[in-house]
Symmetry: C3
Subunit: 133 residues, 3 copies
Amino acid sequence: MSDSTKYPVRTDRAPVPVARFSQAVAKGGLLAVAGQMGFDPETGAPVGPGLAEQVHQSMRNLQTVLAEGGATFDDVIMVRVYLTDTDHFAEFNRLYDSWFENTPGGAYPARTTVYVGLPAGLLVEIDALAVIG
Amino acid sequence: MSDSTKYPVRTDRAPVPVARFSQAVAKGGLLAVAGQMGFDPETGAPVGPGLAEQVHQSMRNLQTVLAEGGATFDDVIMVRVYLTDTDHFAEFNRLYDSWFENTPGGAYPARTTVYVGLPAGLLVEIDALAVIG
Amino acid sequence: MSDSTKYPVRTDRAPVPVARFSQAVAKGGLLAVAGQMGFDPETGAPVGPGLAEQVHQSMRNLQTVLAEGGATFDDVIMVRVYLTDTDHFAEFNRLYDSWFENTPGGAYPARTTVYVGLPAGLLVEIDALAVIG
């Protein structure tokens, strides 16, 4: 069956992986999207020092990779958010919520948010699991 | 097909999300449950300063959200545990294990445990992925 | 249907869980693999202080558990990597990439890498979600 084949997503319109992993991969009706950070896909550099720029770029990258895999945020069931500072939580939520203003039926993805370390200057990483079958 | 629709879980008997995410969402036979912490759904406040109270409340919240989505711990394939102190590991395992005393065939979910930062006073966050299809 | 049953993986050739979780569990065409660290399954002790030894042992343990569940790295859609030091990222990628030299069509799993705390002496934890249906 076609959905038992694994399809990688590759696009220059989102940050290119620096190791042997895919931006996303589809198999069996699932689309797993790699953690996205605030890198500008054109320059390869972080978009800016601020949380807002990094969150929106991370979400744009997620959206681009999802689209390349035939999905939208409406197909996402789980989002994992990795922040680096608990003081960012309230602002992060405002930024995040702006991406889900038009979700049909309020069927937002589930989400887990934890606070981790990231490479210097990076404030947020976000990944997603979508059902596209 | 019905399972290609995304169904959000909403219940007042578990902590209400503070942003645009669902307590859980079902699609394509999967039920993804958002990270649960030791919040009392009635008061919205943490249940207590101790690990035991917080772990049991987190697990109760998980169980409540799973149930609202038509699932039990027996349907869960993966649990992610976020602790804040490596010294909590042994006690956490004792508390966690008490929730799986009657798992049929010892078919416990897989689990990953890591140590992260959480908002002040919170010691544990737990999420789950269940297969309900 | 058979795939609605949950099948746990149990093997002595990978580290034995210290609590009520499975090394991996299959249900509904998915195989969720618990976080693997650099423990030698024969001795139960960490394989060595260095990153290289721990990464390769973690990957061997993952591979063993996947195999016991009827899967290979080619079936994995998502890998989660937990490192403890951002300075390990470049070396980690070299070690990780060596496990994916022969991936058909470059269909590597997606991956998220974050930096967390782990018990003393442990430098890396890796888990995986595979589609085997």
